[in-house]
Amino acid sequence: MKTRVTLTVNGQVHDVEIAPHYLLSDVLRDVVGLTATHVGCEQGVCGACTVLVDDRPARACLTFAIQMEGHEITTLEGLRDDPVTQALQQAFHERHALQCGFCTPGFLVTLSAWLKEATDPTPAAVRDLLTGNLCRCTGYQNIVEAVLSVAATECGR
């Protein structure tokens, strides 16, 4: 049985009709129509589905959409004008920190939230944070370098 739910995604209100067991990742992609949020496992491991719920990273594949009423959801599409995200995108581009790009939105969303709070990230701290996001292509090295380059300019601002 489907019910009506009001979701706030990237500042926009969506009235959607969904079943209680629909995952947030599926609803964002198939109902709201935002496909930057990727699904790599539906097992809560890969991090490709990471979105912000009230500005904190969360796994959209482990969240039922129906639980999201009254919360603010932000996807990569909603970070288009966010300066930290833009700096990350530029650094990823310059350091070749993506190959197939399937994991990339999850990394960017996770990092955009983290960099706003991190004070002086070390390579070890960056790697530690990134254990929640899997990448099968890059071997992480260029991602770590890209993050550190952004941290050098963005952190503590």
């Binding site: 599926d26 790599g40 539906e42 990569l76 399937f102 990339t104 071997g139």
Partner: protein, 783 residues
Amino acid sequence: MTRDIPDGYVGRPMLRREDGRLLQGRGRYVDDIRMPGVRHAAFVRSPHAHARIVSIDVRAALELAGVHAVVTGADLVGEVADAVVSPPIPGLVPTRFEVLPTRKIRFQGDLVACVIADDRYLAEEAAERVEVEYEILPAVTDMFVALADDAPKVDDRLASNRVVHRVHTHGRPDDQERDAAFVVETEFHQQRQSHVPLETRGCIASWDQGREHLTLVTGSQVPHPLRTQLVRRMGLRDGQVTVESPDVGGSFGQKIALYREELIICALARRLGTPIRWNEDRLENLQASCHAREQWCRTRIMADADGRILALTLDIVEDFGAYCFYPANYIAEVVGIILTGQYRVDHYRYDLTVALTNKCGVGPMRAPMAIASWVMDGTLDALARESGLDPIEIRRRNMLSAAQLPYDMPGGETLLDVNIDETMEAALEHIGHARLRADADTLHGCGICNVVESTTYGSRFYKNSGIGGSGHEAARIIVEPDGTVTGSVGLAASGHGYETAFAQVVGDGLGVSPDGVAIRLGHTDAAPYGMGSRGGRGGTAGGGALYECARMGQEHLLHIAAHMLGLNTARNLRMIDGRVEKLVDGAWRHAGVGIADIARLAYFDPLALPEGTRPGLEFYRTFDPPPMTFSNSTHACRVVIDRHTGQLTITDYVVVENCGAVINPLIVRGQQIGAVAMGISGTVLENMVYDAAGQNLSSTLGDYAIATACDIPMIRIHEKATPGSRTPLGLKGMAEGGVMGAIGAVANAVNDALAPLGVRASRLPLSPVYLHGLIHGHAISQH
């Protein structure tokens, strides 16, 4: 053949043009594509490893509103032909199997039925309502057990589970034993792994009833060969099928075969007349997509008192799982062919055995021959230990020098354009000579692995090895009426950066700026028929074809330009960045015409073209690479093992690589690091485990661990490149050697660390449990 263009684009670390859309989340992966009226598929899969299908009751599933069809094997008989793998290779048993089993399932996760419904949730719910009665049969999950005479038969049509037995002999290896000062046998056991692209498989198939045309959108490495298989199995003609591979979230060899799921979706789209979508979930991907690498090797090396190799033999046994999507000899065969690398071996034999088991079928995974470098250098390390000789010195003594190349390898290929003698010395410099001592808490080791990577296989290789098929690649270049350029080639990208790199190649070949070059890939209607992306062939075969095609195009453009300039020859003309330049008094000067002017003539004013020149500007060219091209590298690493926990830490990692001329060093570097990371991940973490009953115990990414950012060390890469001598631009290919070297370097380093204890690790993964068991003298089972 090297390029003669000053300041060309090839060789520059240009930033990737693919990145813009991917960084915004605007990529177009299969699951991002919306199609009106699409229906969704889910599969009913076997919970057992080996069972006869007694009955299937689909009534409860069909009762759900929104369920349109539930199809079993019996429904597809006569509609879709069996998969037949029967190349004429001595020692290879021909095999065939149905698209959807009618009588028996062969592994846990095997297909039983397919449900089509309005949405995915509903399709899955309906699939759960399909009732299947099974008669459970004994399962065989160990390849050695499978080879025993009384083993349960995985494929009832065959005489046994042994689908390959082949022996290749060069010289007289057995006769050398009497002269040998040392004879050493060494074992190597590589565990079952899987590719784990972050994007699982998936497809959308639609059938245009009016045009009788099938369109399959799917992430594929090989759109044209996939189409060939599809038309054969479905009884269609080539021109009736379009295969489109959009953005692909990684493939690593998993997206080559025509699997049964995609074929069933295509058949049902045709039958039902509606578009159908299927997205594999991660559970299906880990249980039932494609596995890889499960091989056991034993070498026997005979050497003289100085450590010079007199003879070498290799036995390989490989577990191929339940179904042969590929000729079952092919993966192990390449190990046998390239094993000896840049070492001189006069007497050699390899002996391949491949077994079917009740596990998921296997296929090539990034560096199918990955085990080879570990086996070769691990054998030399074992010889060093036995003889007391220095392991590096043994490598040096057996190494072929530049003067000895080309060299007819005992495996049958001709080795050339490699310089391991140089990469090894450089790697030793970079890793340093310090010998760290073991103490009460830690063991220290340093490992070296030399890699000869077979990168691009030409048609001659396939012919010689009896596999059949072609190694050529095809390129088409269109200079459009506005003077911009569209290039295409029969490859398909999944993170390779082809759109950027190939624009550089076309830019240099044609004499235009890459900015004005669009590259179209992965679409059977847009690209000419090519063999697709596999191995390290993309740059060499695809780049080579495009470069030669572009050169041909430039010649034609300059012929027209000469006419426009009133010259009777184009000899003193060239094109740079779309401008025609003329050699005047030893200096190149802009001649006043450009590619847009030429295009205008060719398309809209053909009577102004030179006599005998036809309108239009389209160029097509194929390129068949030499039988085999080789890159090489040396990997060196240092490890520390915690004696108390068995925990392994890689503290330094160096690669010195010779992959020839490179199109885009930024992209190449990314591929090198990615390959090493995949090799380390497979060496220390990944393990696809089945229990004795054939239940897959590694069906989530929690259970099947792949490397995270904390598992991969900083990788230092240095180049010692020499160009390929027989390919356009001196390209050789790369992207797999990193996997080969990582396995060997890490495993050799671990064994160096363990040497003082008199034990040796012969199995992967090098997990803490396994290493702890070795250190403390009690071998604990990995599982």
